[in-house]
């Protein structure tokens, strides 16, 4: 996941019902755009879910996606966080090679990034980390030296910093 010029972030409030995610995703893919990151979860209102979509597209395409999403009957509200002051977070699990003699080095890196060791194996450690894109990238770069066996990401979630948000 590399930062690009057009890093677009949409926060989409939708009905919490079966098939809704498919409508949203199908609409975006139908217009030929690749979703870079997607996360879904219920909100403070159990009848609503929030989808955070990140895609790298140009401004015109982005405007069209936003307008088309707004037309879906299941979509309540769209907040474009692309140019808003906002908080972006992602949870990442790293499974890293860590033979006994180098284990403490890996633990030190995890501590530096305020990440947690959540599983220890004979030759590996599993680390849980959260943060924004640059932090996760920095951690990944350092851990690469030890050999990363597996990475899983939750997809990013985002929230605007200002208080006017619904």
């Amino acid at each position: 996941m590399r930062a690009t010029k057009n890093h677009n972030v949409l926060s989409v409030l939708v009905e919490n019902r079966p098939g809704v995610l498919m409508r949203v995703v199908a609409l975006i893919s139908r217009r030929g755009f690749n979703i870079e990151s997607l996360s879904v979860g219920p909100t403070e209102d159990p009848t609503r879910s929030r989808i955070t979509i990140i895609a790298d597209v140009d401004d015109e395409a982005w405007e069209q996606i936003t307008k088309q999403l707004n037309k879906l009957v299941v979509v309540h509200k769209i907040t474009d966080l692309t140019d808003e002051p906002s908080i972006e977070r992602e949870l990442v699990l790293f499974k890293v090679n860590a033979p006994a003699e180098r284990r403490s080095e890996v633990i030190e890196i995890a501590n530096l990034f305020r990440a947690k060791i959540v599983d220890v194996g004979r030759g590996s450690l599993t680390i849980e980390a959260t943060g924004d894109e640059s932090k996760m990238q920095g951690m990944e770069d350092l851990l690469r030296a030890y050999g990363i066996r597996e990475i899983t990401r939750t997809g990013k979630i985002a929230m605007s910093r200002n208080s006017k948000e619904e």
Partner: protein
């Protein structure tokens, strides 16, 4: 706005989307009944009197309940695609929501082309599909298909019913969504086990969908800005699209043109919205529009787009389209504004209401743009490059399609007839030469370009408008795509008149092969099968074949005088092309095949030198870029 007028406008807003029928006042309200009976009761409460369909295993309970209805007339199609096009033709002709009822699996999948056709042209439909019982959904059971998933990108909205208790609310919402805002098809998938569940029928009048609130009223500031642009324009063009028909804004659009003296171009979807007899109406625009209409649009300094979407069939090569024009874009769908062409003044709203306000504002500021020089310039183009002229040299003894369409136009009373077309060359000739004075009297598949749409749509229109004569202008290729509906017409005694413009070819693609692919007629020649007159006879229709130009008018007269369905096989030469034509991949200024009255009324179709090579190379690019079957079939 005077108070009483304001009152009317307000009540229209409140009425928007309400049931056409009795709603909650329906006589079955509060009664215990099965899910299947509730579906019929819901359709009745909506005021539906006509539906088109085809039964099957998972729809049998709905059909059983339908058997008791005195209000609903069901038309049994001969194919589910036919049923949906019939419902679509009914909706286009009447303005009501069209309803289709089919079974699960193949019944449902057969509706997809019909739904997509309606979606592209913004036609309100409610399509009810049977589904396998809830317990076996997802198990690949017999006649199961995920129709909600398959149609997701071609419906305005869709429902998979999961409880009989949801039937009433879902049907109310479906009708509301189908006909409000930008209209479109809504699908309701009904698992058959909920059809036998017992419920109390409570039909609501109102809907509560917080996430669906179309904007009807245009922004006042934007309307004032639009009025100022119009007042200052010297070369304005009014660009009228299908939204003017669906919002019922024909009178307002015509008044705007007349009051401000603005020349007007009309898309295929809006034919009839501005009377053909109106001198300011320049008629068809775009790929097969007149050269003068295209020149006017392309050289304008202001385009007032009303319910139109700058389709690639209208604009031609986009980066060369109307380079000097500012754009006022009025549309109820915000996603259309700025999608293709940037609008200096975007106005989201119902075209009719926006135009009402715009006309008031223009009157208030006493706008009087000076368009006299512009109109006389256009008149000059119109005289110089006529759409057709009898002086053009044509093959001797053969029926000339342009002339035959003009004769048809003269034979049809504008008030009491509806013309429906299939898709291809005949469609373009009909659009060019059949005059229409009223909206909803020219029906054609514009966006999807569905061959096989026209004939069933004509059947639906004819059943929906019993007082009108419905004439379907078809091609021999298109007609064969849904000719099983001849039985539907025969059995229901639908007096539809089909004129098959018969060139024994897939004429439009063949024309492209002739012009751009070196005459390599790959898979476009149909041969002289079937004998359409014998075919008509087999279905109990009247029919006649006409081959000589001097016999055409009398044949039309006989066709129109005959009661019941009738087929006229109008034989034209294979080699006729639709002109003028914007070279594929070319801009609106690159018109080929226009008649030049200044050069002895010749059709200049043949390529000349450098320009031609450009067209030919562009064609291939354009065909790849826009999609393989660029020109229709």
């Amino acid at each position: 706005m005077p108070d009483d007028k304001k009152q009317v406008a307000m009540s229209t807003v409140a009425m928007e989307g309400a049931p056409r029928g009795l709603g909650s006042k329906n006589p079955k309200q509060g009664k215990r009944m099965t899910g299947a009976q509730a579906i019929i009761a819901a359709l009745e409460a909506e005021g539906v009197d006509l539906l088109f369909g085809y039964p099957g295993g998972q729809a049998i309970k709905i059909y059983d309940a339908l058997y008791d209805s005195t209000q609903l007339k069901h038309v049994l199609a001969r194919h589910e695609q036919g049923a949906v096009h019939e419902a679509d033709g009914y909706a286009r002709a009447t303005g009501n929501v069209g309803v289709a009822l089919v079974t699960s699996g193949p019944g449902a999948t057969n509706t997809v082309t019909g739904i997509a056709t309606a979606y592209m042209d913004s036609i309100p439909l409610v399509v009810v599909t049977g589904q396998v019982p809830r317990a076996v959904i997802g198990s690949d059971s017999f006649q199961e298909s995920d129709i909600v998933g398959m149609t997701m990108s071609v419906v305005k909205h869709s429902y998979l019913l999961l409880s009989a208790d949801d039937i009433a609310r879902t049907f109310r919402e479906a009708f509301h969504i189908a006909k409000t805002g930008r209209p479109g098809p809504v699908l309701i998938d009904v698992p058959s086990d909920i059809l036998s569940a017992e419920i109390t029928f409570e039909y609501p009048d109102a809907v509560n969908i917080p996430s669906y609130r179309p904007t009807y009223r245009g922004n006042a500031k934007q309307i004032r800005a639009a009025a100022r642009l119009i007042a200052d324009a010297s070369k304005p063009v009014l660009y009228v699209g299908g939204g003017v028909v669906s919002s019922g804004a024909s009178a307002q659009a015509t008044e705007l043109a007349r009051m401000m003296r603005i020349p007007t171009v009309v898309t295929l979807m809006a034919k009839g919205a501005i009377p053909s007899s109106e001198p300011l109406n320049l008629g068809a625009v775009g790929m097969h529009g007149s050269k003068y209409a295209n020149m006017a649009l392309n050289r304008s300094d202001l385009i007032i787009a009303c319910g139109a979407r700058f389709s690639d069939r209208v604009t031609g090569r986009f980066d060369e389209f109307a380079p000097e024009a500012k754009v006022v874009h009025i549309d109820i769908d915000p996603a259309e504004i700025g999608k293709v062409r940037e609008a200096q003044v975007p106005i989201v709203g119902d075209v009719r209401r926006v135009l009402d306000s715009l006309l008031e504002e223009l009157a208030r500021i006493e706008a009087a743009p000076d368009t006299a020089a512009w109109l006389s310039q256009i008149d000059e183009w119109r005289t110089r490059f006529p759409m057709y002229d009898e002086h053009v040299e044509e093959p001797a003894g053969a029926i000339v399609p342009e002339v035959a369409m003009r004769q048809l136009s003269r034979a049809l009373d504008p008030e009491s007839t509806i013309v429906v077309t299939e898709v291809g060359q005949h469609q373009m000739w009909a659009a060019q030469f059949v005059d229409r004075e009223l909206p909803r009297t020219f029906l054609s598949s514009g966006g999807l370009g569905t061959m096989g749409f026209g004939f069933p749509a004509a059947v639906g229109a004819a059943i929906g408008c019993p007082g009108k004569t419905v004439v379907c202008v078809a091609g021999d290729g298109s007609f064969q795509m849904n000719l099983q509906e001849m039985a539907t017409a025969a059995i229901n005694n639908v007096p539809v008149k089909v004129v098959v413009v018969d060139n024994r070819a897939l004429g439009m693609v063949r024309q492209w092969q002739k012009l751009f692919y070196g005459g390599r007629y790959s898979a476009t020649e149909l041969d002289d099968v079937p004998d359409f007159v014998k075919l008509a006879d087999a279905y109990g229709w009247g029919a006649e074949r006409v081959e000589r130009p001097q016999d055409v008018e009398a044949a039309y007269a006989r066709m129109l005088a005959t009661e019941g369905p009738y087929l006229l096989d109008l034989r034209i030469p294979r080699d006729q092309s639709v002109f003028p034509m914007v070279a594929p991949g070319g801009g609106l200024s690159e018109v080929i095949g226009a008649i030049d009255s200044g050069a002895g009324f010749r059709i200049v179709a043949e390529p000349d030198g450098v320009g031609w090579t450009n067209w030919a190379s562009r064609t291939n690019k354009a065909a790849g870029g826009v999609g393989g079957r660029e020109g229709g079939r």
